[in-house]
Amino acid sequence: MDTQARIKETVTTNNVVLYMKGSPKFPQCGFSNLATQILDACNAKYTAVDVLQDQEIREGIKQYANWPTIPQLYVKGEFVGGSDIMRAMYESGELQTLLAGA
Protein backbone atom coordinates (compact mmCIF):
# COMPACT_ATOMS: atom_id res chain seq x y z
CA MET A 1 0.00 0.00 0.00
CA ASP A 2 1.43 3.41 -0.82
CA THR A 3 1.82 6.17 1.73
CA GLN A 4 -1.26 8.18 0.75
CA ALA A 5 -3.40 5.02 0.93
CA ARG A 6 -1.94 4.16 4.34
CA ILE A 7 -2.79 7.64 5.65
CA LYS A 8 -6.29 7.42 4.22
CA GLU A 9 -6.82 4.08 5.90
CA THR A 10 -5.60 5.41 9.25
CA VAL A 11 -7.76 8.54 9.23
CA THR A 12 -10.88 6.77 8.04
CA THR A 13 -10.72 3.73 10.34
CA ASN A 14 -10.03 5.83 13.45
CA ASN A 15 -12.45 8.58 14.51
CA VAL A 16 -9.87 11.01 15.84
CA VAL A 17 -6.26 10.90 14.66
CA LEU A 18 -3.42 13.22 15.59
CA TYR A 19 -0.26 13.16 13.51
CA MET A 20 2.43 14.51 15.78
CA LYS A 21 6.13 14.58 16.56
CA GLY A 22 6.76 12.19 19.45
CA SER A 23 4.10 10.51 21.55
CA PRO A 24 1.38 12.04 23.77
CA LYS A 25 3.54 11.13 26.79
CA PHE A 26 6.72 12.46 25.24
CA PRO A 27 5.94 15.08 22.61
CA GLN A 28 9.04 16.17 20.70
CA CYS A 29 7.79 19.58 19.65
CA GLY A 30 5.96 22.41 21.41
CA PHE A 31 3.17 22.49 18.86
CA SER A 32 2.58 18.75 19.10
CA ASN A 33 2.58 19.11 22.88
CA LEU A 34 -0.03 21.86 22.64
CA ALA A 35 -2.18 19.69 20.35
CA THR A 36 -2.19 16.79 22.84
CA GLN A 37 -3.03 19.16 25.70
CA ILE A 38 -5.97 20.55 23.78
CA LEU A 39 -7.29 17.07 22.99
CA ASP A 40 -6.85 16.06 26.64
CA ALA A 41 -8.71 19.19 27.74
CA CYS A 42 -11.58 18.06 25.48
CA ASN A 43 -11.45 14.57 27.06
CA ALA A 44 -11.02 13.22 23.56
CA LYS A 45 -9.99 9.67 22.82
CA TYR A 46 -7.60 9.77 19.93
CA THR A 47 -5.09 7.78 17.98
CA ALA A 48 -1.66 9.38 17.89
CA VAL A 49 0.74 8.73 15.02
CA ASP A 50 4.37 9.64 15.67
CA VAL A 51 5.69 10.89 12.33
CA LEU A 52 9.26 10.72 13.63
CA GLN A 53 8.95 6.92 13.53
CA ASP A 54 8.16 6.83 9.81
CA GLN A 55 9.85 9.11 7.30
CA GLU A 56 7.36 8.23 4.54
CA ILE A 57 4.42 9.23 6.70
CA ARG A 58 6.25 12.36 7.85
CA GLU A 59 6.56 13.57 4.26
CA GLY A 60 3.36 11.99 2.95
CA ILE A 61 1.11 13.63 5.53
CA LYS A 62 2.19 17.04 4.24
CA GLN A 63 0.82 16.19 0.82
CA TYR A 64 -2.26 14.39 2.05
CA ALA A 65 -4.04 17.54 3.27
CA ASN A 66 -1.84 20.03 1.40
CA TRP A 67 -0.59 21.16 4.80
CA PRO A 68 3.16 21.56 5.29
CA THR A 69 3.35 21.37 9.08
CA ILE A 70 2.84 18.90 11.92
CA PRO A 71 0.77 18.36 14.10
CA GLN A 72 -2.34 17.64 12.04
CA LEU A 73 -5.72 16.64 13.42
CA TYR A 74 -8.23 14.48 11.55
CA VAL A 75 -11.78 13.76 12.69
CA LYS A 76 -13.76 11.09 10.84
CA GLY A 77 -11.37 11.26 7.93
CA GLU A 78 -11.59 15.03 7.56
CA PHE A 79 -8.59 17.28 8.06
CA VAL A 80 -9.41 19.74 10.86
CA GLY A 81 -6.23 21.78 11.12
CA GLY A 82 -2.90 22.30 12.83
CA SER A 83 -2.26 23.51 16.36
CA ASP A 84 -3.22 27.16 15.69
CA ILE A 85 -6.61 26.11 14.34
CA MET A 86 -7.08 23.56 17.11
CA ARG A 87 -6.45 26.30 19.67
CA ALA A 88 -8.83 28.74 17.97
CA MET A 89 -11.54 26.07 17.71
CA TYR A 90 -10.99 25.06 21.33
CA GLU A 91 -11.34 28.66 22.49
CA SER A 92 -14.56 29.08 20.54
CA GLY A 93 -15.93 25.72 21.74
CA GLU A 94 -16.20 24.38 18.19
CA LEU A 95 -13.60 21.68 18.76
CA GLN A 96 -15.39 20.30 21.82
CA THR A 97 -18.59 20.03 19.77
CA LEU A 98 -16.81 18.36 16.88
CA LEU A 99 -15.06 15.85 19.15
CA ALA A 100 -18.19 15.11 21.16
CA GLY A 101 -19.84 13.93 17.96
CA ALA A 102 -16.88 11.77 16.98
Binding site: G30, P68, G81, D84, I85
Partner: protein, 81 residues
Protein backbone atom coordinates in the same frame (compact mmCIF):
# COMPACT_ATOMS: atom_id res chain seq x y z
CA UNK B 1 19.37 33.32 9.38
CA UNK B 2 15.84 34.12 8.41
CA UNK B 3 14.49 37.23 10.10
CA UNK B 4 10.92 38.06 10.91
CA UNK B 5 11.12 41.01 8.51
CA UNK B 6 12.26 38.72 5.66
CA UNK B 7 9.47 36.28 6.37
CA UNK B 8 7.02 39.16 6.40
CA UNK B 9 8.24 40.14 2.92
CA UNK B 10 8.01 36.54 1.66
CA UNK B 11 4.37 36.42 2.67
CA UNK B 12 3.61 39.89 1.27
CA UNK B 13 5.18 38.89 -2.05
CA UNK B 14 2.71 36.05 -2.47
CA UNK B 15 -0.39 37.36 -0.75
CA UNK B 16 -2.14 40.73 -0.69
CA UNK B 17 -2.18 41.78 2.96
CA UNK B 18 -4.03 44.68 4.56
CA UNK B 19 -1.92 44.15 7.66
CA UNK B 20 0.85 41.78 8.58
CA UNK B 21 3.09 41.44 11.59
CA UNK B 22 5.62 38.66 12.02
CA UNK B 23 7.49 38.15 15.27
CA UNK B 24 10.31 35.77 16.12
CA UNK B 25 14.05 36.21 16.49
CA UNK B 26 15.52 32.69 16.64
CA UNK B 27 15.50 32.16 12.87
CA UNK B 28 13.16 29.16 12.89
CA UNK B 29 10.11 29.87 15.07
CA UNK B 30 7.78 32.66 14.04
CA UNK B 31 4.41 34.08 14.99
CA UNK B 32 2.35 36.01 12.49
CA UNK B 33 -0.82 38.05 12.42
CA UNK B 34 -2.10 38.37 8.87
CA UNK B 35 -5.10 40.31 7.54
CA UNK B 36 -5.95 39.75 3.90
CA UNK B 37 -8.96 40.39 1.66
CA UNK B 38 -8.14 37.02 0.05
CA UNK B 39 -9.32 35.31 3.26
CA UNK B 40 -12.93 36.44 2.84
CA UNK B 41 -15.34 33.53 2.64
CA UNK B 42 -12.64 30.95 3.35
CA UNK B 43 -12.31 28.49 6.21
CA UNK B 44 -9.45 28.84 8.65
CA UNK B 45 -7.77 25.86 7.00
CA UNK B 46 -8.05 27.50 3.57
CA UNK B 47 -6.75 30.81 4.97
CA UNK B 48 -3.66 29.16 6.41
CA UNK B 49 -3.17 27.22 3.17
CA UNK B 50 -3.08 30.54 1.27
CA UNK B 51 -0.25 31.71 3.52
CA UNK B 52 1.60 28.40 3.10
CA UNK B 53 1.11 28.65 -0.66
CA UNK B 54 2.57 32.17 -0.63
CA UNK B 55 5.64 30.79 1.12
CA UNK B 56 5.95 27.80 -1.21
CA UNK B 57 9.18 25.82 -0.80
CA UNK B 58 10.48 28.21 1.84
CA UNK B 59 7.97 26.71 4.23
CA UNK B 60 9.67 23.32 3.94
CA UNK B 61 13.25 24.52 3.59
CA UNK B 62 13.70 27.47 5.92
CA UNK B 63 10.86 27.70 8.37
CA UNK B 64 10.48 25.17 11.14
CA UNK B 65 7.46 26.68 12.77
CA UNK B 66 5.04 29.39 11.84
CA UNK B 67 2.19 30.02 14.22
CA UNK B 68 -0.42 32.30 12.73
CA UNK B 69 -3.63 34.13 13.33
CA UNK B 70 -5.49 35.06 10.18
CA UNK B 71 -8.30 37.61 9.90
CA UNK B 72 -10.55 38.96 7.19
CA UNK B 73 -10.39 42.80 7.05
CA UNK B 74 -13.87 43.32 8.55
CA UNK B 75 -13.10 41.09 11.55
CA UNK B 76 -9.77 42.79 12.04
CA UNK B 77 -11.48 46.22 12.15
CA UNK B 78 -13.97 44.89 14.67
CA UNK B 79 -11.19 43.65 16.94
CA UNK B 80 -9.28 46.90 16.75
CA UNK B 81 -12.17 49.23 17.47
Amino acid sequence: MLSAAQLENYIKDGLACDYIKVLGDDGTHFEAVIVSPSFVGKSMVAQHQLVYAALGDKMRAEIHALSMKTYVPSKWQEINQ
